[in-house]
Symmetry: D2
Subunit: 403 residues, 4 copies
């Protein structure tokens, strides 16, 4: 047992921290300024982002998330502390390093399950950061936590699939540079529970694909990242070659995707909490009320201490989960992945909420990233399966030990 990072991780952490300090943090106000000056928030391409991407790539801080030949080849355990650092500036750092969801998940899926042609056509430009992508899974009309509820139909018609359905919270889909959608739907509703679904590649400009509206998260549109779209598929036709890994593989692909996806979310959320804690410490050290800095109030010290204690525990569980995924595989790490999926958002929303409180009115405003961080952390209790589904599954496994 050893709690130190390995040399490769230390080296990359140092490089990434340097990039954050020298480029990313200074770019935050510039980015917001350029966004604010854009005429159309949905078409804004703040030039600073292109500069950051170029710089990150030059430094070799690119596609760090992706194991294997296509990416940086890091293990989950090596990538985890880097994702945490990116999460501290979640609006810029992940995209700057081509490590932002949902592209990461889509690239993983294509790298693992894609045909050569699919890789050429979609994986390559994604790896280059030239295009963006979206994942269309959740549906407005059903509780999507139960995959058998999915209503979107993918019906074969000769050499094509015909897709009909309605998705929402398809993040990134309204980015003008988003060109490809991965759509989950049922090819065989009569099949066994986990063989009903398939995933197909749908170019965004395919006739019948209709972006209906932008879903807000709290009051945020997240336009700078392509928002969260409600998308209608109305007799959308794509060639049968667009299926990923074959009919009936949709559920298995989703499972394969969700493991790393969840751990990435969790690592970034730890970075979010660290950022909030730093802001809480800085703010309360500066603000004075009733004759002394807020930081000298017992209740503020309670928040700071609890934040530190909660963050440390959560980070270790995430790191252990990464280690398990590397050593015994995603299935072997199933329980731990579920554990971090409930533990980390709980920790993060708590820490960020206390940081908001320590900032008073400023905390809920646009002057600090806290309210935005909160909104994002809050959704982590819901996306990729709500807390309740994971807790139930965790409990059942625990109970099985005694039968």
């Amino acid at each position: 047992m050893d709690f130190g990072y390995d040399a490769r991780t230390e080296e990359l952490r140092e490089q990434l921290l340097d990039f954050m300090d020298s480029h990313v943090y200074p770019a935050e106000p510039v980015f917001l300024q350029q966004l604010a000056e854009a005429e159309d928030e949905w078409a804004a391409h703040p030039p600073i982002m292109a500069e950051l991407k170029a710089e990150a790539r030059k430094r070799g801080l690119w596609n760090l998330f992706l194991p294997g030949e296509h990416g940086a080849g890091l293990t989950n355990l090596q990538y985890a502390p880097l994702a945490e650092i990116m999460g501290r500036a979640g609006r810029l750092a992940p995209e700057a390093t081509n490590c932002s969801a949902p592209d990461t998940g889509n690239m993983e899926v294509l790298a693992q399950f894609g045909t050569e042609q699919q890789k050429q056509q979609w994986l390559k430009p994604l790896l280059e950061g030239e295009i963006r992508s979206a994942f269309c899974m959740t549906e407005p009309d059903v509780a999507s936590s139960d995959a058998t509820n999915i209503g979107t139909r993918i019906e074969r018609d000769g050499d094509h699939y015909v897709i009909n359905g309605r998705k929402w919270f398809s993040s990134g889909a309204m980015n003008p540079r988003c060109e490809i959608l991965i759509v989950m739907g049922k090819t065989d509703p009569g099949a066994e529970r986990h063989r009903q679904q398939s995933q197909v590649l749908v170019p965004k400009d395919t006739p019948g694909v209709r972006i209906e509206r932008s879903m807000h998260v709290f009051g945020y549109s997240d336009a700078d990242h392509g928002g969260h779209a409600e998308v209608v598929f109305d007799d959308v036709r794509v060639p049968v070659d667009n299926v990923i890994a074959g009919e009936g593989e949709g559920f298995a692909i989703a499972q394969a995707r969700l493991g790393p996806g969840r751990i990435h979310h969790c690592m970034r959320a730890i970075g979010m909490a660290e950022r909030a804690l730093e802001l809480m410490c800085r703010r309360t050290s500066e603000r004075v009320a009733f004759g002394k800095p807020l930081a000298e109030q017992g209740i503020v010290q309670h928040w700071i201490a609890e934040s530190r204690v909660k963050i440390e525990q959560a980070r270790l569980l995430v790191l252990k989960t990464a280690w398990l995924m590397d050593t015994v595989g995603n299935r072997g790490a199933h329980t731990e992945i579920q554990a971090i999926k409930v533990a980390v958002p709980e920790m993060a929303t708590w820490v960020i909420d206390r940081a908001i409180q320590a900032h008073g009115g400023g905390g809920v405003s646009q002057d600090f990233p806290l309210a935005n961080l909160y909104a994002h952390a809050r959704t982590l209790h819901i996306v990729d399966g709500p807390d309740e589904v994971h807790r139930r599954s965790l409990a059942r496994r625990e109970l099985k030990k005694y039968r």
Copy 2:
């Protein structure tokens, strides 16, 4: 001891509930639609609001908040359950009945402390719902929970005051119909702690008044209610007659205002929680996952039961506080006002948060009022003094009993 509402309250509750069912709830989607269609969200006057106001006034549901001859003449205990009902549809009902903050507080101050001329000029059109107003108290540069921190200066120069300072979260100030600001500042920084401040009336179009920007609350601009402005006062000159109740009275007026203001916020927050609980019950009864409605899951039932238990307790404490204000005055109810100021937001954010969770992705989106309710309830932990200030003061009073 008697826990039943009196006849006047029952009658008004019935009338208000009827108005809500017949007009307010049906107006909610219309209002959102009209807002969405407006070219400029800041200049939008959804016509439906004017219709609601006319209807409410016709029904005598007008200025219910205001005791005495100028208003409906209700006691706090009579008004409280009505404010709760309004809080269920907080975006429409308070304004429709001319009972929305910060106008309510401003009208109370003018009714209680204003000169005849001040009443004629500003109270009258406010009571008619013809103009809106704002209260400029909180400042970005200091912890405003400590009133001695206030930096805005109000200096006498012959027959005028010259005002210099910066305020933020001046709610409603960007409403195009907002015509008058009440500004808190120091006329005598050398005076005794609670005699340094004064409040003066500043017409919004006075030279030197500059609306700098809109402060967001979790991504929301609240533009339909005039937003939350950052306002700069740059050598703003107003006649000395514009002072309210005399120099040095600013702190006392603020205290007088905050008692009723806090209880109104709390009553509406209880209505918000009731609305969230209703939505939680409805949604979980309809949604099916893993073979049964969500409402049959034990954890969802836990949330619903806890919500009911928390709401009932909080409501009773608010009602008792209202009763105390009526019977022993605001000072006599000081402890209870502080108690509800911390208890109610805690209850409301908890209930709304669980309702969000029960709604999944929909819960954080614009499709339900929940995320917006959450953002509003969350700010109640901060406005009018953060929880921590009230808890400290409460504890000190408790400790005094044993000295």
Copy 3:
């Protein structure tokens, strides 16, 4: 709506508070001393208790719990604040005033459902405080929260019932002055769910009644109150006249008993929390660490303020419940009875736990009543139905509103 106590209540409160100050609190150390000096803790009759009873009776502070002609004739709303005061010194005050569980419930049952002969034989000496009684309901072998689980059989054999079964947590049964047991069991296991049970009177000295052992609560035997017995009924024969209210009425009697029983527990628990808060304030005002009294630490003030806020809310809900029981009956107050059953123990354990923490090592010891109060409050989450059963039932009623 009126939050003031009525004249009768105020008068009795004053009298009871005077009795507490002049006799009960001073008796606490004497009682503990006399207990400690007893050779057998199970046979100890600290003489001070007899003195307290005589004094209470002389002052007319006797059988205050019992409505109607047999008792003081108070309403629930009048009795509630008195029970709270008794709860502050729960080891002495309830017994001193002949208001201690389970005798109270047993007397209520006999007064309401007993035959003349049953009243003569058992109710009369109980009302006089001459004998004690126990209620044998919970069983070790099943989850007793589900009444249909009850395994004790009461079988008719001519003019007698033959009882077989095992009960535990029969509080008071090991008191040497306990003479009568009310036993719940099934007379007709094949009947409709709520008609299977009956309650019969079983004199403790009936052959076949065997006290097996004392159940502890945390490390407490509660010997001074007759402990919590495990009782075996082995072919115990009693005349059929000993049935209360007829065969099949057991469940209905239990329901009738539990309403007032729960509210009494809750009122006393509020008194327990008040006692803990007082101790917390006193202790932290006296103890100095790191240069100032503990009471000046922010976190301690947080506990004190939260305790006050939680207690106030819980008390109001209990009082409203009492008022409902008086005005619309126990059935009409069903939801509120369940609400206080979960809300009050939660509040009480929280407050007492914080008071323990404020006392350091002393808090868990016998030097303060806190650990004992905690143990008692903790069991309130379990007795008369665990929290979970009440929450589930509450949630179902709430959900029904929307069907």
Copy 4:
């Protein structure tokens, strides 16, 4: 980074688990039975304990806690998982393996700071498990969390020290086999804050040493472990050679002792939580209410899942802390030691409390170890410095990063 145990740890875990299964768990009911049969609980030596000790020693499972030549020579990281296993049966396993507090701390102190003679006289028989010891630090009259508060005086008089003072919660001191006390007191009240205290060895039979009484913990006397004594030192004279490490070293020794002491407590507490979780799973799988096992209720599954998630996080933080102590020393691990000191008791009391609730009445009784575990875990919030002191210190270190 590597989350697997090393070979030595795995081997010892296996041996210890085997010893637990084959000897310790089966001994639990025997031990309780032998205790119950003893005439004097304070003089009881259940023979089963001697058998367990002999067996443990035979298996080499002896003094595992002690690094260096005198003990098993394990690192903290190697010992931690073993202490966790012992904690699952905390009443037997630590003593059986000669790893029970406060002897462990006393042996560490003697091994590290003792003179040869002190080691011969006291360390040797302690290592052999022939005698027991106590540590007299906490005082009833002051808040001992602030070491400068300590009132016990150790005054030099020629070749002797004369000790006067009062201690309480001196655990184990009433064990008839306890022969030696380590007493903390002030030799120089005028010295610099951390140089005022010294620690001296006081044989229990020294004239003037008076065991006044047994302090209870939630009703438990813990007599089988020698209880928690209040001890008076009344002109107690010991030779100056009995000082440990020299005058003025008391605070430093205490600090050196507390690091390992806290981590041992924490590891055992994790074992306690694991035991509680196991019992919760077993009980709820067996008990049926309302037609299904309790384990199928959503709220019970929530408890089980949360317990697992909380335990995993806490364990990892403890293991990391152990690793830090091994690699950078106790001072370097200071923050983490404080973090586990607050995190682990919070986790443990929560898990055990939920297990109690799942057991109903049985949970608070002597039929399951849960209430006793709770009482023990609850004291961990207090012993070795209350949570609040550790949180404050943690917060200050965190805040320093930004100055």
